[in-house]
Point group: C2
Chain length 171, copies 2
DNA sequence: CGAAATAGCACTTGTCAGATACGATTACCA
DNA sequence: TGGTAATCGTATCTGACAAGTGCTATTTCG
């Protein structure tokens, strides 16, 4: 289970680029920078523009730039836009009827309330993180030591996200 | 974006049934109860048994029962088993190489650290919820009002990660 | 021995993310 | 005023994986 789709992942990457290069950039520049397909990057930028996160300017010297300061955009907001809403379970709204009916179990599903609470807790975490924090190499999110020491009790998989230069073919 | 797959969703439902009926039950009984396909329920139970959450007993009077008390199982543990691990982004381990290479960006991806912090925060939330709490109709998770009012603060570095037994009981 | 249940595979189906392509539109510049 | 380069909008294809089904082996009880 992956929380961020690759699209959202790349969206973050692209936004961080636009954040650092205040002059902005066009799709091809960004694609080149990250070694991605220009069409793919263009698509993500289009979607970001459609949701008002970046502003696109057409024409020869056109390109994209952040439409809002990064510290006014929360991770929750971005995900709710890029992904189609953040749901915990399927049995919320707008579902094909048969599933809804199965889940509601004649209205006796005792899980909905508690799961909604959990959902809101997760949302809080995402709401508490702005893109500015995420992009700031000296921000509170970049000194995980204190937080990690708190959270690494039974220590599951992830821990570190392989920040090494990646043993891939590269050279 | 849906956090719980339908399988995980039904797994919770089935576990809650086994939690309430301490005598346990067989796949067909559970399927009948929830109006699901017996094969489907059997499959989920098999997987739950494989991960040690329920114990299966074969034979004519066989069936399934919880193998561990519900208050020793956290939502995080269940999800990590049922779903294939809980990741925030794709750029962790075990990826097709080309994606990995793209993500590593010659090792200059500044997002990894901060995203790992966010990931751990989310994990904290899931770790703080036990199945017993989730299944208890009178538990703290069934009175969302107080919790919501608590958690709606900007909460940047406060966090402190609710590692407490969710005793945030509305005072 | 036979019925009933789990255990373990193998398989089909359906959906959606991932990714691409192309025409329309807009803006700059000569 | 026409050409070029860029975004915009949409339509489409594809592959991976979740969702769901079925069958056979094994175990247990009567």
């Amino acid at each position: 289970m992956t929380l961020l789709s690759r699209k959202a992942d790349y969206a973050l990457l692209i936004l961080s680029y636009l954040h650092q290069n205040t002059g902005g950039g066009n799709a091809r520049t960004v694609a080149d920078k990250f070694g991605l397909s220009p069409s793919f990057v263009a698509n993500i930028l289009k979607e970001l523009a459609h949701h008002g996160f970046v502003a696109g300017h057409r024409g020869v010297k056109g390109g994209y730039a952040l439409a809002r300061p990064a510290d006014t955009i929360t991770l929750a907001e971005l995900l709710e836009s890029i992904e189609s809403g953040f749901r915990l379970t399927m049995c919320n709204p707008s579902l094909p009827d048969q599933h809804h009916e199965q889940c509601s179990l004649a209205g006796a599903c005792t899980l909905k309330g508690p799961l909604t609470v959990v959902h809101n807790r997760l949302l809080e975490v995402l709401r508490a993180v702005t893109l500015a924090e995420l992009f700031d190499p000296n921000g509170s999110l970049s000194q995980p030591s204190a937080l990690l020491s708190l959270s690494l009790l039974p220590a599951t998989t992830t821990t570190t996200c392989r920040s090494e230069p990646a043993t891939v073919t590269q050279a």
